[in-house]
């Protein structure tokens, strides 16, 4: 059936491999199952080889990549479960539901492991806000995230947002979720005991989302993309909220042997992955699957990506209790499968076998070695010499322009639509470098940050990916937390193109280097390819989700200036590094030059200095330097604290370079007079250059080359996003 396999997104070679595996031609149902499981989205067939390069082990890692989410030991018997995923393609087609179901999917990944989800983060990328379509997508995505996450009662505490023309046709909607649990509650998505029962819990199965992973997520977009809207699922956060409570109650009562969510590839994925992980087979009676509409074909039932469904494995003895917990919460539950000896996934319908394939052959798809070749554009764009830039006529005006630019201005319009306080754990609210959550009844704090500057990655994927790791590490360190582990979402164009695959390889190598340096293993993540429209790819965007740990949440530090008369200390060295900077883009309209250099010794020393100073409770505030450099960081600390500052920019550089350079491994901290020498001592020991550059106080930011009032900066910074959304 050549037409069908091609339509389903399989290649001729893949089809032949299926025939070889089965020793016969697959029937239509089987072919459908292979097509979704062997899609790029599910099988990682292009990325697997490269992902081997990532460090995945460490003393805290309880479970690395391969399960539904990574699990990290934070001590005192508690574990953190976290992961990031993309929902890019669905969100481009239908922003509200695409983003909403993205939240739903990642949240299921977390409670599937036994953890209560306690925080979500959303890294987003869009085109320029000048475009009406971007504004529509952006507003829809934010509303979708809000509607789903708020209803679940999981605070959305952080994220990052960039607007770049490269994302015009392909917005990125990445979603990260984090949960906590007692270590012993960890449960895997496996079916390892023959005779045990597979129970389908939650929503009915409908015709929505059929082929989402193969048709939507694993192909480029073109003029027909609008027709793909039926492949986007529709979210029901209320049912998901009930599923969270049902699953956690069943785990609390120790009723389950395995638990798996329904994500991409629906029932096919849930059954074959649990069987494969447990080294068993499974008989599934699809005639028992509750359907939303009559007349659904077996292939539709197996490929449907209807949301809010879970697959629980329990013993026959515990089945009645499992069903009773579901009844209590008003959630449908139907035993549909029996775990069997061997390896065979058999689908039955009214006694008739409709499909019979080895579970492992579905779960372990093909792997490809893709060609990689450095694309031509790199030398062209990095050849730009930032030394030729002339200083701005008015530094204050340049700073205001940056503060009012799309990538730097306040995100309040976004995060106030998210309930970021529910669960009463958020002790550092959105707007700082990283969100901090307490972990009552423990004293510990969890710091979370998502980062990736796609522009740096476009100019130099290897350096850009390292900077993403460095910045996220710095962000959590600014709160006083030690970076301990990483999840990621790797967003790229079409991997079948050597130039794109080169970007991917270099980013993975950069990520690997960064994570090794910071000793933050990668415990899970997601790859999203084919973010490409009409042959134009997005910037390579390997988003990092960093987990930091504070042994005592009372040690946390915010980024707002906290008191008048504190000394402001610049940690780290400033070089002439305007390549790929926000200044270069906003003031000169250029994306060019070399991104800042990464110096891991300096980054690690800075992390050491910040965390030690925080645990000695020396710091009034700490703020990472990133886009917009020192000037923007100072302005942000002033605005957040409502306290001005008087500073001298570091010498030896033209003032505008000192102000806007994006040199890495830097932070500004404020300390009281009493604590200054202790901080300086720690900086010396850690090997971090520390210079007092000024003091806090007043209602202006005075920096010699410019002087701006807080009120002027505030109105520019706070109102920019809404102004741009109004299309003015």
């Amino acid at each position: 059936m050549p037409e069908l396999y091609e339509e389903l997104g399989l290649t001729t070679e893949e089809y032949q491999r299926i025939v070889e595996t089965l020793g016969r031609e697959p029937n239509k149902v089987e072919l459908g199952m292979y097509s979704v499981m062997w899609s790029e989205h599910c099988s990682y067939k292009s990325s697997k080889e490269q992902l081997q390069k990532l460090p995945t082990e460490g003393p805290r890692v309880l479970l690395g990549p391969g399960e539904n989410a990574g699990v990290v030991d934070i001590g005192d018997g508690m574990a953190v479960v976290f992961k990031m995923e993309s929902h890019n393609h669905p969100s481009a087609v239908e922003p509200f539901q695409g983003a909403a179901t993205g939240v739903g999917g990642i949240v299921r990944d977390i409670f599937t492991m036994g953890a209560r989800p306690i925080a979500c983060l959303d890294p987003l990328r869009f085109g320029s806000l000048d475009s009406a379509r971007t504004r529509y997508l952006f507003e829809g995505v934010v509303a979708g995230i809000a509607s789903y996450g708020n209803c679940l009662g999981i605070p959305t505490v952080a994220g990052d947002i960039y607007f770049e023309e490269a994302y015009e046709e392909n917005p990125l909607v990445n979603v990260m979720c984090l949960g906590v649990m007692p270590v012993e509650r960890l449960i895997k998505g496996q079916a390892s005991e023959p005779g045990s029962v597979g129970v389908l819990i939650g929503s009915g199965t409908g015709r929505d989302g059929i082929g989402g992973v193969s048709v939507l997520a694993s192909q480029e977009f073109d003029e027909n993309s609008e027709q793909k809207r039926p492949s986007v699922q529709v979210g029901d956060p209320f049912t998901e909220k009930l599923l969270i409570e049902v699953c956690l109650e069943m785990l609390e009562k120790d009723l389950l042997l395995g638990l798996q969510d329904f994500g991409g590839a629906g029932l096919t994925c849930a059954t074959c992955e649990t069987a494969e992980r447990g080294g068993c087979g499974m008989d599934v009676d699809i005639s028992k699957v509750p359907l939303r509409e009559p007349g659904m074909e077996p292939i539709e039932i197996m490929m449907s990506e209807s949301q809010e469904r879970m697959f629980a494995i329990c013993s026959e003895e515990d089945l009645e209790e499992v069903l009773s917990v579901c009844r209590k919460w008003g959630v449908d539950a139907t035993p549909v499968g029996v775990v069997t000896e061997g390896d065979m996934l058999r689908l039955l319908s009214g006694g008739e076998v409709v499909a019979e394939v080895p579970a492992s052959s579905l779960a372990r798809g093909p792997e490809y070695h893709r060609d990689a070749e450095k694309p031509d554009y790199i030398d062209r764009v990095t050849g730009f010499d930032t030394g030729t830039l002339s200083p701005p006529e008015d530094m204050g005006k340049a700073l205001l322009e940056l503060l009012g630019s799309a990538n730097i201005c306040s995100r309040r319009w976004v995060f106030e639509q998210y309930d970021h306080m529910v669960r009463v754990n958020t002790v550092v609210l959105p707007g700082s470098d990283a969100a901090v959550l307490r972990t009552k009844p423990l004293e510990k704090g969890i710091a979370l940050s998502c980062d990736c500057n796609g522009r740096y990655c476009y100019l130099d994927p290897y350096v850009g990916a390292q900077i993403a790791v460095a910045e996220s590490g710095r962000n959590v360190a600014c709160t006083g937390a030690r970076p301990i582990a990483v999840t990621n979402c790797l967003n790229f164009g079409n991997p079948e193109k050597p130039g794109i695959f080169w970007q991917f390889c270099r980013c993975v190598e950069g990520l690997a280097e960064g994570c090794r340096q910071l000793a933050t293993p990668v415990v899970g993540g997601n790859v999203s390819f084919y973010n490409e429209s009409f042959g134009e790819a997005i910037y390579p965007t390997p988003v990092i989700g960093m987990l930091g740990l504070l042994e005592d949440v009372g040690d946390r530090v915010g980024s707002a200036f906290a008191a008048e008369g504190d000394s402001i200390v610049l940690l780290g060295d400033t070089g002439d590094e305007l390549g790929g900077s926000e200044y270069l883009k906003v003031i000169h309209g250029k994306v060019a030059g070399r991104p800042p250099v990464v110096d891991w010794a300096a980054e690690k020393a800075l992390v050491e200095c910040l965390t030690r100073a925080a645990s000695a409770r020396l710091l009034s505030s700490a703020h990472d330097l990133s886009e917009g450099g020192l000037a923007v960081a100072l302005a942000e600390s002033c605005l957040q604290g409502g306290i001005g500052a008087s500073v001298q920019m570091p010498g030896g550089l033209p003032p505008f370079v000192a102000a806007f350079s994006e040199s890495q491994a830097r932070a500004i901290v404020s300390v009281s007079e009493d604590n200054l020498s202790a901080l300086e001592g720690i900086a010396v020991e850690a090997g971090v250059p520390a210079r007092v550059i000024g003091t806090t106080g007043g209602d202006r930011l005075e920096a010699g080359a410019f002087s701006l009032s807080l009120s002027e900066m505030r109105s520019t910074y706070e109102e920019a996003l809404e102004r741009m959304l109004a299309g003015s």
Partner: protein, 236 residues
């Protein structure tokens, strides 16, 4: 004092309220499943925030048919203390235990942020420990907080001191500028004639510990404990 925190399907501030009442205020607190009808032994019933039944219909419209609500009605009629926070307030409105109705925020967006509210009367059990026009800094988090009530009813409510909280400036001035959701006359919380049933949109449980940025919510809890003759824990 014995508190019951009702869990409706979709409640999501139930754990937060349970934690604050039990761990911060050191009171006896139990969960009450929405299908339960036995409220004997409780001194105060709390309807928490969240999205009961997903709020797919009008907010609170389905939850008020839960079996527990008949009992809450009786409990209130017998003088028991009842507080509804956010979605809990919306459910009390739907149940007719408080006057008025809720519409979508005028900005048509969910809003989560700290706001200032002014204590409009100190003669309720919920505010007897506050001072006149005290400003409390407490977060809101809702999509439907645009409180509406017929003019005549509102006038009567004002005469009887049923308007308990209004959104205001940090310096306690009540004006449209500080109204986050379009609520009539900046109303953030109201009580029934007898004063034993309170509904409010702001979340006092999110402002009951210094670690979370405000302890102003304690003013409400402390008033309640005081009114009920409970010794107020020293930490408050």
């Amino acid at each position: 004092m014995r508190f019951g925190v009702v869990i409706f399907p979709g409640s999501n501030c139930d754990h937060d309220c349970f934690y604050v009442l039990g761990e911060v205020l050191n009171q006896d607190v139990k969960y009450v499943w929405h299908q339960s009808t036995d409220l004997s032994g409780f001194d105060c019933i709390l309807l928490p925030g969240g999205f009961s039944y997903g709020d797919y219909l009008r907010t609170g419209a389905v939850a008020h048919f839960s079996p527990v609500m008949k009992s809450v009605e009786r409990f209130a009629a017998d003088g028991g203390m009842v507080i509804g926070i956010c979605n809990g307030f919306q459910i009390l409105l739907e149940a007719g235990l408080l006057p008025g109705a809720m519409m979508r925020n005028t900005g048509l967006k969910f809003i989560c942020r700290f706001v200032d509210i002014r204590v409009e009367t100190t003669s309720t059990p919920w505010t007897c420990g506050a001072y006149e026009h005290q400003v409390l800094r407490i977060p809101i988090a809702h999509n439907e907080g645009n409180y509406q009530v017929p003019y005549q009813t509102l006038e009567e409510m004002k005469l009887r001191g049923q308007v308990v909280f209004r959104y205001c400036s940090p310096a306690s001035s009540v004006s449209g500028e500080f109204n986050p959701n379009g609520a009539t006359e900046n109303i953030a919380g109201v009580c029934n004639r007898e004063g034993n049933v309170l509904g409010l949109m702001p979340h006092p449980e999110r402002a009951s510990e210094a670690e979370l940025g405000s302890t102003d919510g304690l003013v409400i809890w402390r008033s309640l404990l005081d009114h009920c003759g409970v010794e107020v824990p020293t930490i408050l």
